[in-house]
Symmetry: C2
Subunit: 233 residues, 2 copies
DNA sequence: ATAAAACCGTGTTATACAGCACAAAGGTAG
DNA sequence: CTACCTTTGTGCTGTATAACACGGTTTTAT
């Protein structure tokens, strides 16, 4: 794990939520316990069953958190965008990882030992409240997701994923091309369906002029109609 | 909401996780902000869309947390047993409730204003760590659940629910009768299936001598085989 | 006690989706 | 350039499970 020297200002820009609540002394403590690592496209960041050791903050790139289910079918549980924290849940719960993480595209990730975080948590309540808030938001999303994935039909689930990707990673300059290029398989794993059905349903959406597809490039044309399809299931 | 006078010792026994980390002064503060309310069987405790105001601790009884999905189909997200806390997630996330809660059976619930909890959180880190830990555990369960509900077949899902009910609420003196008596509909909503299929699959399990059923009374006979069915999906 | 409602059980039908096979296209490596 | 592997796309088939209908039973309410 490569150690990298950064100025305090650079660090602060990378991890504002974590940095802001800290005192000067706490910041110096954190700066000492700070490493940065790069990951290639599709590279695994951590695996199911491993022991969590570090809080991770995604500095640049895009990450998927997923889980292998029955018969090797993989389900994408959530996705991380830059400046977001992850990999801390299992440590707090005193469990091994129940999910795995991999890079959608080349990533730079900041690693902070969870032991250091625990030290800070003992003396800094604002930091604790940050984690409480973050975990609470994620738990709400997970609850929504459980119902959506189980009850909606294929079109609803795919429409929801497309909207979700737009809301999470945003669009390119043209205001409609999703700025993440996923394989059909990843899209299927995000939407709880087989790859064939992701392909088919995506084609249907294109035929209905709700989107256009050009390889992995997806343009959202009729966002409102997609939202409606997602909503009614 | 009826105010009820309790001795400190009684309170401490009701809500140990919350009480233990507190100083004497903090305990007095909490004791002042403490109300208890009873709920009848099937009574709603809170609804989707409402504003969360209180941390709730289930003193006695059993509670379901559920969510209405598409077409009025309801999905039980998690269940609460006595001495467990709930209803705090939405407040921490600064959201309205995304779930609803109702009593499986007659309940006594202790209400503590979230504002009081927030006050305590500002000055007591152990309390913050309690919530961090609890939220982390629940988020892990939610992740597991998403995959199980979406990928397992009907038999796997029902088997899992039966095991889950045993692990959560335990059994009666005979060591095998589940100590919670659910309607077939609730069992279906817990397992993401229709009521008819819950009935049918339950009968199948009974024919295969994995369980016995007598109305809502369910005896687990072959726990290991059920666990296996749950595991392989 | 009687009516009404909720719940339980079973059979039948309909369908959404998975599974598989295979072809075409695109990317990658030697 | 050629060969190979991965990804995309399409058609066909099978099946798990939802949806519906209906009769019997238990619980609740008056």
């Amino acid at each position: 794990m490569a150690k990298k020297e950064l100025t305090e200002i650079e660090i602060a820009e990378c991890i504002p939520d974590l940095w802001m609540p800290l005192t000067q002394e706490q910041r110096e403590f954190l700066a000492k316990n700070f490493t940065v690592q790069k990951f290639k496209k599709n590279e695994t960041i951590y695996c199911e069953g491993e022991k969590p050791q570090h809080l991770m903050c995604l500095l640049t790139g895009k990450v998927k958190i997923y889980k292998e289910g029955v018969g090797g079918r993989s389900q994408i549980i959530r996705v991380i965008k830059d400046k977001e924290y992850f990999a801390y849940r299992a440590y707090f719960a005193e469990e091994d990882f129940v999910t795995a993480a991999a890079a959608f595209e080349p990533c730079t990730i900041c690693f902070i030992p969870m032991k250091a975080i625990m030290e800070l948590l003992k003396v800094n309540n604002e930091l604790a409240l940050f984690f409480i808030r973050q975990l609470s938001i994620d738990l709400g999303i997970a609850d929504e997701r459980t119902v959506n994935l189980t009850q909606k039909h294929i079109r609803g689930r795919l429409a929801e994923s497309l909207i979700f990707l737009k809301d999470t990673y945003g669009v390119e300059e043209d205001q409609c091309t999703l700025s993440i290029y996923l394989s059909r398989e990843d899209l299927a794993n995000l939407s709880n369906m087989t790859t064939s059905n992701a392909i088919r349903t995506l084609s249907n959406f294109a035929n209905e002029k709700l989107i256009t597809i050009d390889g992995r490039k997806i343009k959202i044309i009729e966002e409102e109609k997609l939202r409606k399809i997602s909503k009614i299931g």
